[in-house]
């Protein structure tokens, strides 16, 4: 009886360990999936509090909409360092506000950020907060947090394959992702459940749990389309279960792997109108 019990424990540990390895490999493939070395896109963020009407989810009031041009280029040996320029097109009152952001793969290397406000007339370096604590605040007032926008470091989490399911007519792995101790201290989430498309190595749905372990957000990646031979979710829906608010991020236009000059990913783009507009015109011709 005792031997059977030990065998059961060994088998359980072995199976769960092999599930963990498999889950980690799946997520590694997701992280390694080609998302283009460069990206230029016009992005629309629409946020509102919602209600249910019949079987539809509709905004309670006029949604808050931001439209922005985003230009990204990857750097570094693994193409995991990113330089991004974001220029707000709408609403009219925020038009022309520009952000420049450098993100680094290297752990603990803080993001560099600069902001240009036309009322201020100068570029100003900004700090986003302490990397060792959970960040609050949202991405341009949406339900997306800055943590939601960050790329994961594979070693920051442990992974468990919970099963296989069909979601959105696609065969999916269901994986539980739990931050390791160091990461947990600076995350807003205690864990997430991810539905990963088995063939396309893409996350299609995530449920995020807050630090108290309660369901907090659902994120859906939909309208998947091939852009320059790369699969891109053209819409991302973020549902905040605590506030009853929804954000829809939609690509109005997108082009990948076009040639973007390194000089465009510098502070010059924020202040030099002639340079910015002429380059943008050239890049946006690729849509």
């Amino acid at each position: 009886m005792k031997q059977a019990y030990i065998l059961f424990i060994v088998l359980t540990v072995f199976i769960s360990s092999s599930h963990a390895n498999e889950a980690r490999d799946i997520i590694q493939k997701v992280l390694d999936r080609d998302d283009g070395t460069t990206e230029i896109g016009r992005v629309k963020l629409s946020t509102c509090a919602v209600i249910k009407k019949g079987n539809k989810i509709v905004c309670k009031s006029t949604p808050r909409i931001k439209i922005m041009d985003m230009i990204r280029k990857d750097y570094g040996p693994n193409e995991k360092d990113h330089k991004t320029v974001t220029i707000i097109m709408e609403p009219a009152g925020e038009k022309g506000i520009g952000f420049l952001q450098y993100d680094y793969e290297q752990k603990n290397k803080e993001t560099d950020q600069w902001l240009y406000l036309s009322a201020l007339g100068k570029v100003k370096r900004i700090v986003s907060g302490n990397e060792n604590e959970p960040k609050t605040g949202s991405f341009f007032g949406s339900e997306l947090s800055y943590e939601d926008m960050e790329k994961r470091h594979i070693d920051d989490y442990t992974y468990q394959l919970l099963g296989r399911e069909t979601y959105a007519k696609r065969p999916c792995f269901v994986i539980e992702t739990v931050p390791v101790k160091d990461r947990a201290a600076k995350s807003n989430y205690s864990k997430s459940l991810d539905w990963v498309d088995q063939e396309r190595n893409m996350i299609l749905k995530s449920i995020l749990f807050n630090r108290q372990g309660k369901k907090y957000k659902k994120i859906y990646f939909g309208k998947i389309k091939e852009v320059n031979s790369i699969l891109v979710p053209m819409q991302i829906a973020v549902l905040n279960l605590e506030t009853g608010r929804r954000t829809l991020l939609s690509y109005v236009n997108i082009a990948l792997n076009i040639n973007i000059d390194d000089a465009f990913l510098t502070q010059r783009t924020l202040t030099d109108g002639a340079f910015r507009e002429s380059r943008l015109k050239k890049y946006q011709a690729a849509y």
Partner: protein
């Protein structure tokens, strides 16, 4: 209870805070929280509403933005009670004419109604004025750009005090109440930037320097020069050919942004100077803007949640206001070291705070300068900002304190985005001036509440 000026001052702040908090609570209560709303996984339902909108939004970029606004302010101490009562329309336009030629325009027209202090000063039932902040052409090339026209040129890292930021004059016609977007005045100049990797070298030349805009005569914030009835004033503004020029080099390395700059300038602020002659037995005082040269450096360094800022500027023969033995105004040229040190703190986007300490040190003897001028003049400035309701509501508190004069002011400001295209702002400002020889003493009774609504289209 003894009711003193200080009680009164803090009571008003307290009531204002109560109003702010009440507004926040009311707005928060209106949010409904629901866990059961999102029990569907159906992609067609989740994305349905926006799918059509996303397609129709592939519109072309708009070249122009109009802002229609109304501004009202009410004095809580001084008379008359109504200060601002005006409408404005602002146009910002930019367009790329060819692959390398860009045009930008930023102009504004104001309509001041009868009760507005500017219309009242001119004794008009409606007073209209306008200004062009920027109107320039820019040619941009691979590593070089050239800008010609009416433009604003901002130097330095300090946000609150003028250390190296001496190129573009300021609009002081509304004392400290000028809006951020109206704070600087454009002037006709030619400027050029050369870009080499992370370094930018900028040069400018300005053939006709503009000067700070002062309050209109007899308007709310106009304060006649002491003893102005005893002398005549003759204006001596810079003329075409009185060149201002300067160079600035900006570079970034790792977490640090660094600038060095130097130039020759005419004082943006007016100085009064008695040159020894009289008209109709009254001394003639020239209102003038003498020149000086400066060299400075500015630095920003980011470390975790903190941004450190340091700015230094040596001004050689900077004109300062003095008086002669007959108690008549003269200007004195002095070497000056202006400096500022600031820290910004971001509490992981919960709130943000900034502190800035600045100082002016006058090197030589100050006995001939205006009474009340200190060898060191230091001020402290702090700003607290916090966003609520998905960044649609912003609260800002500004505190200024002049160390030697012990003068201070507080500004409480709430800004709410009614919709994507409409914004309202409420503000309360109060002064606490202690030094009777200071400029702020003249404005000690200018506490006010103000309200503004803007519509963008």
């Amino acid at each position: 209870m003894i009711y003193t000026a200080d009680n009164h001052f803090f009571l008003r702040q307290f009531f204002f805070l109560i109003i702010c908090l009440t507004c926040l609570i009311i707005m928060n209560v209106s949010l409904s929280h629901s866990q059961s709303l999102f029990d569907t996984d159906d992609e067609d339902i989740l994305f349905e509403e926006e799918a059509a909108a996303a397609v129709s939004d592939s519109e072309q970029k708009k070249n122009s933005t109009f802002t229609l606004g109304y501004h009202f302010s009410h004095g809580t101490d001084g008379e008359p009670k109504i200060i601002d009562n005006s409408f404005y329309l602002r146009l910002e336009y930019e367009s790329l004419f060819s692959d390398s030629l860009f045009f930008k325009f930023d102009g504004k027209g104001n309509l001041h109604t009868k009760t507005d202090h500017r219309a009242d000063a001119k004794n008009k039932s409606v007073f209209f004025n306008g200004s062009v902040r920027e109107a320039f052409f820019q040619a941009g090339y691979e590593k070089f750009s050239l800008k010609i026209g009416n433009q604003i040129n901002i130097w330095g890292k300090a946000d609150t005090t003028t250390i190296t930021d001496v190129v573009s004059p300021r609009d002081n016609s509304q004392f400290i109440f000028t809006r951020l977007e109206d704070a600087r005045l454009g002037q006709l100049m030619v400027s050029s930037n050369i870009y080499i990797n992370d370094t930018t070298a900028s040069v400018f030349i300005n053939p006709l320097p503009e000067t700070d805009k002062e309050p209109d005569t007899n308007s709310r914030y106009d304060r006649p020069l002491a003893g102005s009835n005893l002398f005549s004033v003759k204006h001596d503004k810079p003329e075409f050919g009185d060149f201002e020029y300067g160079i600035k080099v900006d570079t970034s390395f790792s977490k640090t942004d660094f600038s060095v700059m130097a130039g020759r300038f005419y004082s943006n602020a007016a100085l009064y100077d008695h040159k020894g002659y009289y008209e109709n037995s009254k001394p003639v005082i020239e209102k003038t803007y003498p020149d000086y040269i400066m060299a400075g450096a500015a630095l920003e360094h980011a470390w975790q949640s903190f941004l450190f800022k340091l700015e230094l500027c040596f001004k050689n023969k900077l004109p300062l206001q003095g008086i002669d033995a007959d108690n008549l105004y003269v200007f004195e040229k002095k070497d000056v070291l202006d400096s500022a040190f600031g820290i910004e703190y971001n509490a992981n986007n919960k709130y943000q705070m900034s502190f800035e300490l600045s100082n002016r040190y006058i090197f030589s003897d100050i006995s001939r300068l205006l009474p009340g001028t200190d060898k060191n003049s230091s001020s402290f400035y702090t700003v607290f900002t916090k966003n609520f309701l998905n960044q649609t509501l912003n609260f800002e508190y500004i505190f200024y304190y002049h160390i030697q004069e012990q003068n201070q002011f507080h500004i409480f400001r709430l800004t709410y985005d009614l919709t994507d295209n409409a914004e309202i702002q409420a503000e309360y400002a109060c002064f606490n001036a202690k030094d009777e020889s200071s400029l702020m003493w003249l404005y000690r009774n200018e506490d006010r509440i103000s309200f503004e609504i803007k519509y963008f289209f």
